[in-house]
């Protein structure tokens, strides 16, 4: 026997800021690794963690959220070699994070403003996060397709529960380690591997979910998500996956609006 025995990584789900096994104890194989096969209960736990983290994350300043997103870009850059993803896709994912890091304090002036109402009131409309966003990530590109939806959700002040590609979950699970060292508070991002057909309906039907972004490109699943989402008027956005940096940032406002509420406040002027 010569040389050193490498230390293998045990892949785990990322829920509430912790690396956990599926409560079900199930797993699937992917590229020589055992990957936890998330369960319905894991989805519910993740939504609960995201809901708990939602208020404090939304209450942070836009400046602070921007710095954390930028920190994610820094961390991804430094860990690029750890990802089983082509370098151009990593680079695009990093740049998408940088792009949306800059959106945190631009959203309000771009989407909101003072309303020139015909009455003596200061009336203004401001974007607020919708709350908890579900992301049904694409198979390909597994990393960029995920980051292109996760970054706008976080930039707008939401927390997220992401169902990773069943075929290619490793980049998403690796991303958990990036988030874990980038000051993203526990529960703000939750990453679940597992079988999409089993988990996406559970996520879409969850009443504590405010919006769902479906990038699966699976028409039948998409229709099922729509139906389940209607039970609690959950906002739904379907989209093809971004396959390049340019596509990910071609229409950022649509991505941001899909996870944003506009609040109009009226305050009296004068007595």
């Amino acid at each position: 026997m010569t040389g050193r025995l490498p230390v293998r990584k045990t892949y785990k789900l990322y829920v509430g800021g912790a690396f956990v096994r599926s409560e079900s104890g199930r797993y699937d194989g992917s590229r020589g690794f055992n990957v936890p096969r998330g369960s319905r209960k894991d989805v519910r736990d993740a939504v609960k963690a995201a809901r708990s983290a939602s208020g404090p994350w939304a209450a942070r300043t836009a400046y602070n959220r921007g710095q954390i997103l930028y920190r994610c870009a820094e961390a991804l850059e430094s860990r690029a070699v750890d990802f089983a993803v082509d370098r151009p896709e990593i680079d695009a994912s990093i740049d998408v994070l940088v792009h949306y890091a800059g959106w945190t304090d631009k959203l309000q002036p771009v989407m909101g403003g003072i309303n020139p109402v015909a009455a003596p009131f200061l009336s203004f409309s401001l974007p607020e996060p919708t709350g908890v966003v579900g992301v049904v990530a694409p198979d390909s590109p597994a990393l960029l397709g995920l980051v292109a939806e996760l970054a706008p959700a976080l930039a707008a002040g939401n927390t997220a529960v992401c169902l990773l590609s069943g075929d290619h979950p490793l980049p998403g699970l690796d991303l958990a380690e990036v988030l874990g060292i980038a000051d993203v508070p526990g529960g703000v991002v939750n990453l679940l591997s597992g079988r999409r057909a089993e988990l996406a309906p559970v996520l879409a039907a969850h009443h504590a979910l405010n919006a769902i972004v479906d990038v699966s490109e699976d028409a039948a699943l998409g229709a099922e998500i729509d139906r389940l989402a209607s039970e609690s008027v959950t906002r739904v956005r379907h989209s093809g996956p971004a396959t390049s940096y340019d596509e990910a940032v071609r229409d950022p406002l649509s991505r941001l609006e899909a996870v944003t509420e506009l609040k109009t406040a009226w305050h009296p002027v004068g007595a």
């Binding site: 989407m111 309303n115 109402v117 039948a220 406002l253 609006e257 009226w266 305050h267």
Partner: protein, 484 residues
């Protein structure tokens, strides 16, 4: 009444608004392709004045073939409409705005005759705001990209629009004005019980020489709406109405890629802090819940009062409620008009019964109500628990449920404890507190020291199960555009 103060009772002589200048036809067809047509497979039904239960006019309801014809007309008209310059499209909308202003008195009277709302409200709120909405969006038509962050835009195509019976003309304006400004054509379905002002708006479209097919107006009941949203050739659905119907529409559109905007129900919290100007707050509470008989999606139907002033506020409110004038919607002194329909009256009665059954304390103003028509006297519930149906479900009538709180944090928790998130009110004289509470409330509209104010430049729409998408201002353009 006890005490030594002399009670002054003000008598109000009747001040009826004359309907003489209203020129209603006996019968209205469907407005499709720029003309009024007989229905192909729809029926004709009378539309009732809820204050008298008498028929005001006969209305054609659209059947499935009629819906199809309206969508086809909209589809045929859309390329040319979108091909007009924004300035020209806008000029048509300016014409519509002006014609609404010219026919304002007639529209106000008809609105009150068909829907039962006090003519003072139709005259001062519904009709002027409808005109203002067209005026606002007319000016957007040639500036669309400025409203969406400078992006190149294109219309969605054909918009199917369904509006409720509580603000018939105003909701039609909220729907049509932005859709048309953005280059879409529209098929509008007014509510079953209140189609008349939408049909007058159809006449106005003719007077404005709006190109045929750009707007079609097809009255009908729920089945007409269900057919319309299932039509295979629509690109957009915009619905204002109940949350249950909104959910059905969202489900019906599953997998179709049709853009959807929902403006649904509410159980909005009106929060009164102990440092508020209480007399002013009482006026705001009255406006919040008794405006339009409480037939308002954003009505302040959950009144949250800080415990230290709860008795005082409820006392003042009860006294003020006793002075509300309930009756003839066409009397300019009337504060609370007729309930829109027998069905809605029964819904209110059922929920009020549930409130009493669950143990809340009910007080209803003792006032004379007309013999005919649908009426409900202003009602207040105290001793309401958060789980009571009257604290959870939308009553959509002149019924307010009072809950109390001790701290600001409790007020926010209770206000947000709802599946809905349409609107909220805050009454306090402390500016910093008002801003803090406003930002913590999960509601699309938050009014401080006022309630039920609307403006075409200010976005309106809900959080949570109160719907998604916004109407008003630049945000109201986005649901009718795609980024090119």
């Amino acid at each position: 009444m006890t005490g030594t103060r002399t009670q002054v009772v003000w008598d109000y002589a009747p001040a009826p608004e004359s309907p003489d200048h209203v020129r209603l036809r006996d019968s209205y067809g469907l407005f499709i392709g720029g003309e009024f047509r007989d229905p192909v497979d729809g029926e004709r039904v009378p539309t009732i004045n809820p204050a008298t239960e008498e028929s005001v006019a006969e209305i054609a309801f659209a059947g499935p073939q009629d819906v199809r014809a309206a969508v086809e007309a909209a589809r045929a008209a859309q390329p040319r409409w979108a091909g007009l310059s924004g300035l020209e499209r806008g000029k048509y909308l300016f014409r519509v705005a002006r014609l609404i202003q010219e026919r304002a008195r007639e529209l106000a009277v008809v609105e009150s005759m068909d829907g039962g709302k006090p003519v003072r409200e139709s005259r001062d709120v519904d009709v002027p705001l409808a005109a203002a909405h067209f005026f606002h969006y007319a000016g957007w038509a040639d500036k669309l990209s400025y409203g969406v962050g400078g992006r190149e835009v294109a219309p969605l195509g054909v918009a199917a629009q369904i509006v409720p019976w509580n603000f018939p003309l105003l909701m039609a304006a909220w729907k049509l004005a932005p859709a048309l400004a953005c280059g879409n054509t529209a098929v509008l379905k007014p509510a079953e019980t209140t189609p008349l002002t939408a049909l007058l708006l159809a006449e106005i479209c003719q007077e404005a020489e709006l190109p045929e097919g750009v707007v079609s107006i097809i009255p009908g009941d729920g089945s007409t709406g269900a057919t319309l949203v299932r039509d295979p050739d629509i690109d957009k659905v915009a619905f204002t109405g109940s949350t249950s119907v909104g959910k059905d529409i969202q489900a019906a559109l599953a997998g179709r890629g049709v853009s959807l905007t929902l403006e649904l129900g509410g159980k909005s919290a009106n929060v009164v802090f102990e440092d508020a100007a209480l007399d002013q707050a009482v006026e705001g509470i009255v406006n919040g819940i008794f405006f339009n008989q409480g037939h308002v999606c954003c009505a302040g139907s959950r009144l949250l009062i800080q415990e230290s002033v709860a008795d005082v506020v409820v006392g003042k409110l009860w006294e003020r409620m006793g002075r509300l004038r309930v009756g003839d919607p066409l009397d300019k002194n009337t504060d609370v008009g007729a309930i829109n329909s027998r069905e809605q009256l029964e819904r209110i009665e059922e929920l009020v019964d549930a409130g009493e059954g669950e143990g809340a304390q009910r007080r209803t103003v003792a006032c004379e109500l007309p013999d005919r028509g649908f009426w409900y006297a202003p009602t207040i519930f105290t001793e309401v628990a958060p789980a009571h149906r009257i604290a959870v479900e939308e009553i959509f009538g002149p019924v307010v449920s009072v809950l109390t709180f001790r701290t600001q944090a409790e007020a926010i928790d209770k206000a947000n404890n709802s599946a809905y998130g349409l609107a909220a009110g805050i009454w306090t004289d402390k500016g910093a507190k008002a801003f803090e509470v406003a930002s913590a409330l999960q509601a699309g509209v938050v009014w401080q020291n006022t309630y039920n104010h609307f403006d075409p430049s200010a976005a309106f729409g809900g959080y949570k199960e109160s719907g998604f998408g916004r109407e008003g201002g630049p945000a109201g353009l986005r649901p009718y555009l795609r980024i090119a």
